[in-house]
Amino acid sequence: MVSLSPQSLPSAELAPDQLERGTSLWRDAWHRLRKNRLAVFGGFVLVALALLCLVGPIFSQSYQEQNLDLGAAAPSAAHWLGTDTLGRDLFSRILYGGRISLVVGLVATVVALTIGVSYGAIAGFFGGKTDTVMMRVVDILYALPFTIFVILLMVFFGRNIFLLFFAIGAAEWLTMARIVRGQVLSTKKMEFIEAARALGLGRARIIFRHIVPNILGPIIVYATLTIPAVMLLEAFLSFLGLGVQPPMSSWGVLIKDGAEKMEEFPWLLVFPGAIFSLTLFSLNFLGDGLRDALDVRSSKD
């Protein structure tokens, strides 16, 4: 452990709030994250990809203009990544699809994360009857048929991209809640929580300032797993009719279509798949870096 030399003690002249800020979890984490080269690289790639998808379509060719004479053509100077069976430029389709996939991945994961973490933390912390009722509700929601839920949503609200976020978020928070609850159950028995109670802190403060930061590891890991799951679930929902409709596209839909034609026109699978993988790998490096940076127990530096 760090030896406490007189110099490392904060000087008494600092105001209390400055003191707190100086040792804040997020500031430490940011500092450590910047030193992790892989994580910085991952974050850089993600930002670059997002910018490309945001700005790129302005300069690129139309994503829906068909060229049936051309059909599915291999990559060339005119079409950098080739064209699909209707002669549409694959590069533009990937850029446009990226907008959908990145937004769906981000928004639905944030929704799932917010609901799942709060719900699981509250159930685990209070325990007893509260926990019983809350977790049985999760059991019920797990079992309700997702396909029928989606069809009902479409019937009552029509086709709508925002419904997509709602449907996916509603499905994805359940496992997060169970994981968080399991972690909270064991963390709340630790001595530092007892100490926090002895200090007279409120329950909300104990849950969100003391317990949740200590279980961020599994939360971040599962969140980075949720993003690809969400992007692929979107492909399934688009197949059901909710989600993106042709000629619009998304990475999930492009990969799904590409998989059906992988033998004749391999580039239709390879390029969307490659960009999808690049995104997920970058995300993962960033996630691992964040996990390490936020690990309150390994703060040796």
């Binding site: 325990g127 007893g128 019983t132 977790m135 049985r136 059991d139 019920i140 797990y142 079992a143 309700l144 048929p145 396909t147 029928i148 839920f149 069809i151 009902l152 019937v155 359940l174 496992t175 169970r178 994981i179 609850r181 399991g182 972690q183 159950l185 064991s186 028995k189 630790m190 590891g217 599994p218 971040i220 890991v221 599962y222 980075t224 797993l225 690809p228 692929l232 990969i255 799904k256 590409g258 998989a259 059906e260 992988m262 033998e263 699978l269 798949g273 999808f276 993988s277 997920l280 790998f281 993962n284 691992d288 996990r291 690990d295 127990r297 390994s298």
Partner: protein, 305 residues
């Protein structure tokens, strides 16, 4: 522990009741019915069909009648498969899905756990990067891509396996691998994360200080706590694996139950939807109960409450 299990089993009754009720009315609010097909039947035939299946009665009557038959263990007749009951369909297709699920689960654990443990123990070395990248590939390559790829490579070009079907023991290999790898990737990532959290804790240092061997520290002391997030994930995951996979069963032409989950909803086969939902619900509840027991056994700080 016995009291805990008994109490949880009692709690199952209201949970199942809510699931059955919600599903029953949800599916009735979906437009269309089991007999609205592209080939429309004449109004007289439709009337007779509805009378035969009791669909002409008021909804609350149908609901009570369904609950009554459920209590006798009867899931009712299927609307889409003539002359077959839902009990028969489940009895026919569930064993296939269970078998595929069991093999896949074995693959998932046998691949995922070692990858995750190795990555955590050798954190930030090339072993970690190798194991983590392998797991990431499992996540980046969805089953609907990996399935056809393996079929092309091993079924069609190399001819080691049949491209599809479910007849000989060797037909189990490819589908189990595809489904198993998908879950292995999740298990590896969660194991790595859970292990990293535990390896930093004081009791691990204590175990090392007492002179426990590295293997004992990892497998006896660290793995118990490190598996917590994996175990939480596995509860619903196992229920999902065992009830079959729509994608895998479609790619490999496997006569399992997974396809019925999606098709019954599209066919508006009301009784089959309810039957599969009840089955899945029972499995989810059972798995989550086992998970909660295992969590207490893994973590000495917890008690059955």
């Amino acid at each position: 522990m016995l009291r805990f299990i008994l109490r949880r089993l009692l709690e199952t009754i209201p949970v199942l009741f809510v699931i059955v009720t919600a599903t029953f009315f949800m599916i009735r609010f979906v437009p269309g019915g089991p007999f609205t097909a592209e080939k429309a039947v004449t109004p007289e035939i439709l009337k007779n069909l509805e009378a035969h299946y009791g669909l002409n009665q008021p909804l609350h009557r149908q609901y009570l009648a369904y609950l009554g038959s459920l209590l006798r263990g009867d899931f009712g007749p299927s609307f889409k498969y003539p002359n077959r009951t839902v009990n028969e369909i489940i009895a026919d297709k569930l064993p296939t899905s269970l078998e595929l699920g069991a093999w896949s689960l074995l693959v998932a654990l046998a691949v995922g756990l070692p990858l995750g443990v190795a990555a955590a123990v050798k954190r930030n070395t090339w072993i970690d990067y190798l194991c983590s990248s392998a797991a990431m590939i499992g996540i980046c390559v969805p089953t609907f891509v990996l399935g056809p790829l393996l079929v092309l490579a091993f079924g069609i070009h190399l001819r080691w396996f049949n491209a599809s079907g479910w007849y000989e023991p060797i037909d189990r290999v490819l589908p189990s691998l595809v489904l198993g790898f998908f879950y292995a990737a999740y298990i590896a990532r969660l194991t790595r994360g859970g292990m990293l959290d535990v390896l930093n804790q004081d009791f691990i240092r204590t175990a090392r200080a007492k002179g426990a061997s590295e293997a004992r520290v990892i497998f006896h002391h660290a793995l118990r706590g490190g598996l917590l997030p994996v175990v939480s994930f596995l509860g619903p995951a196992i229920a999902g694996i065992l009830t079959g996979s729509f994608v895998i069963e479609t790619i490999f032409q496997i006569p399992g139950l997974g396809r019925e989950f999606v098709n019954s909803a599209f066919n508006r086969d009301y009784t089959l939807v309810l039957g599969t939902v009840i089955l899945y619900a029972a499995l989810v509840i059972a798995c989550n109960l086992i998970v909660d027991i295992v969590q207490v056994l893994l973590n000495p700080r917890l008690k059955f409450e």
